[in-house]
């Protein structure tokens, strides 16, 4: 039973007790220390509460209201982004911001103030939330918007589930003409090229992101594929691919090791012969390539894996990313998927939102005990020197000292925390001196 409440990275791999909150007129548990949870697609321990229970919103998944003309949808917090897309996309509406998985719930997307490949133009998810309701552990319900309870609005967006149980969310959708995306994929040779391409593409492309070969060394550090895209206009509909692949069992050990990584990274880098390739694809494989493989997190074996996602300030961008990639390559601890993107300067609405101007890099690492943790220590130091931050949604490691530096509004945030709510992440970063 407990297993189904474990976070996506399956590290820390501990049992977690939980129960389902399925009806919005229901009450929260009495006299318990709890944490709201969505679909547990966060990697580390921010959606876990090992000393208490999690209250899962996964089955709290009813739509409430849909204004098809205005493109405004109100639904319960456990509705997954995939369910919203299935409903609204045929009517020419789309998620204004989407993370790389459509299996996140709308409540989880709000509580982590998630970002997507369009951050440089659209800002974070929270920028498009018009209002929501939270329920506090004393049973009080509060509707929050930029007008009403504006302080709780700002605290709950990116608030890591700590300010109350999000019951429903109302979101402003964005118009699209059809389900295709026009993608241009550019193979580039160095980190400086990435920054040039990002600058050059920002105005004309709604979506930009790069995949980086994180085992490249020397002058090739940062080489990869830069993908930039826009929703297509007036085109035939590409058919929607079915979810076909699955990792049906738990392999006894991680299938990801330095050998498979090296092969993957160089194959992936060289998969495209030409420097530029153009294609029109259905939105699903473009936004959610990993969702096509069910339970892909299992390939990392029973020890699980960690993701490291940081942002570094624009002043230090290139040098800091170079330093981080260099250290990873030197430690020979590369990642399957290293993703690099330049955030824009649309302000994030949440007190604790992660996105801020600068370059953000995300990499997956199989958990290999101390080796992994010591590498993260080194990376943290670089991030700290570069006035950056680590993303709690992916974290199971950052120190309390760093957290408080990365998130200067933490003291202001504390007054909004519900006294009955806590998380493994929160206890970890608050306990440390």
């Amino acid at each position: 039973m407990a297993k189904q409440y474990v976070s996506w990275g399956r590290y820390p791999h501990k049992q977690q007790e939980g129960f389902d909150f399925s009806w919005r007129n229901q009450q929260l548990p009495k006299d318990a220390n709890f944490l709201p949870q969505g679909n547990a697609r966060s990697y580390g321990d921010s959606c876990m509460n090992h000393d208490g229970v999690v209250v899962s919103a996964r089955k709290l998944n009813h739509f409430i209201h849909y204004n098809q003309d205005a493109g405004v949808i109100r639904c319960e917090a456990g509705v997954m982004l995939s369910q919203i897309l299935d409903l609204v996309e045929p009517h020419g509406w789309f998620l204004p911001v989407t993370p790389g998985t459509k299996f996140a719930t709308i409540g989880g997307a709000l509580a982590n103030d998630v970002h997507g490949k369009n951050h440089h133009v659209a800002g974070t998810f929270g920028c498009h939330v018009t209002q929501f309701e939270i329920m506090r552990s004393d049973g009080a319900r509060m509707i929050c918007s930029s007008q009403e309870n504006a302080d709780y609005f700002a605290a709950t967006i990116g608030g890591l589930g700590l300010t109350g149980f999000i019951v429903w969310v109302e979101l402003k959708l964005k118009r699209v003409e059809n389900s295709a995306v026009n993608v241009e994929n550019i193979k580039y040779g160095s980190l400086s090229d990435f920054f040039l391409l990002s600058e050059e593409s920002a105005a004309d492309f709604e979506y930009t992101v790069a995949w980086v070969d994180c085992l490249a060394k020397g002058g090739q550090v940062g080489r990869g594929h830069f993908s930039r895209a826009n929703h297509a206009r007036n085109q035939v509909k590409p058919s929607k691919p079915k979810m076909a692949l699955s990792v049906p069992i738990d392999p006894p050990l991680s299938l990801i090791n330095s050998l498979t990584l090296k092969a993957f990274n160089s194959l992936y880098y060289n998969r495209q012969k030409e420097e530029r390739a153009y294609s029109a694809v259905h939105y699903d494989p473009f936004f959610y390539p990993l969702d096509g493989i069910k339970n892909w997190n299992r390939v990392y074996g029973p020890k699980g894996f960690l993701q490291y996602q940081c942002v570094v300030s624009p002043e230090h961008g290139e040098s800091a990313i170079r330093e981080i990639l260099g250290r990873i390559a030197a430690a020979n601890r590369g990642s399957f998927l290293a993703v690099l993107k330049l955030f824009g300067d649309v302000p994030s609405p949440g007190l604790l939102s992660f996105p801020r101007p600068g370059a953000t890099l995300a990499l997956d690492f199989p958990f290999e005990g101390e080796k992994t943790l010591r590498l993260f220590d080194q990376l943290d130091e670089v991030v700290h020197q570069a006035d950056g931050a680590i993303y709690p949604a992916k974290d199971a490691h950052m120190s309390g000292v760093h957290f408080k530096q990365y998130y200067p509004k933490v003291e202001e945030f504390k007054q909004f925390i519900d006294p009955a709510i806590t998380s493994s992440f929160w206890s970890r970063v608050m306990e440390e001196k």
């Binding site: 039973m1 009806w23 739509f63 409430i64 209201h65 639904c75």
Partner: protein
């Protein structure tokens, strides 16, 4: 377009079935014990495209209301094309071993209440010459086991009843579907450890909607349960009685 009456409309499996029907623009008449839950479901189904959603509060064991329920559905929907029965309870087997009253109550909820309703539905559909009847039974009805034979017996009663009904109504163009789910992750089974054999409500609902569309007689869901139950049904009784199942 179709008009369906759904009993046990607040069941997790029924909800997913109704969502699929709603997206096709069907008209739905929900019957369940809890008005608040039905209000929530009604909004959801309306957003998903249902042409009309009506609610009716009733405990399935109140058999005196069954006729008025069907009359009300006819009145509010215009006419009824199909009846889908999803309500049920998973008994406390130990309690049923101690008390006939408890066992009777479970059999009433899981089988007799359905038979009461279907008696009326069958006669109406038969005289009209069309209609769909879809009922959730269970693989548990295929063979009695010590761990839940009261539930199993109720479902077996239901399955056999439906078989006969199908045989009777085929000439009247009335379709009867027996749905036999295996393990489904729902509130009914919240306390069980979930392993590889468990299915989601979405999976099972898709199977139900397909089986109704294709006018199947019996649907094991997911389909591999047919093979599992084939084996279980064929284990000789002198061995079976010694197994701890």
């Amino acid at each position: 377009m179709k008009n369906w009456v759904i009993l046990g409309a607040t069941s997790a499996i029924a909800e997913e079935v109704m969502r699929l029907w709603a997206s096709r623009g069907y008209k739905l008449f929900l019957v369940a014990r809890n008005q608040d839950k039905m209000d929530i479901i009604k909004e959801d189904l309306s957003v998903r495209g249902a042409m009309q959603v009506e609610t009716f509060v009733m405990d399935a064991n109140e058999i005196t209301k069954h006729i008025s329920l069907l009359e009300e559905a006819d009145k509010r929907l215009g006419h009824v094309d199909g009846v889908f029965v999803a309500h049920g309870t998973l008994p406390d087997q130990k309690a049923c071993e101690k008390s006939y009253e408890a066992a009777y109550q479970e059999i009433h909820t899981n089988a007799l209440s359905v038979i009461s309703l279907l008696t009326e539905v069958a006669n109406r559909f038969e005289s009209r010459g069309h209609g769909d009847i879809a009922v959730i039974s269970s693989v548990a009805g295929d063979r009695g086991r010590q761990s839940n034979y009261v539930y199993g017996a109720a479902k077996a009663l239901l399955s056999t009843y439906l078989q006969g009904l199908r045989n009777r109504l085929v000439k009247s163009n009335v379709h009867v579907l027996t749905i036999k789910p295996g393990f489904v992750d729902t509130p009914m089974t919240a306390d069980f450890d979930k392993g590889a054999l468990w299915a989601s409500t979405e999976q099972v609902a898709t199977g139900i909607v397909n089986a109704v569309d294709k006018k199947r007689n019996e649907a094991y869901l997911p389909g591999f349960w047919w093979a599992i139950m084939f084996i279980i049904k064929h284990v000789p009784e002198f061995i079976f009685k010694k197994l701890s199942m």
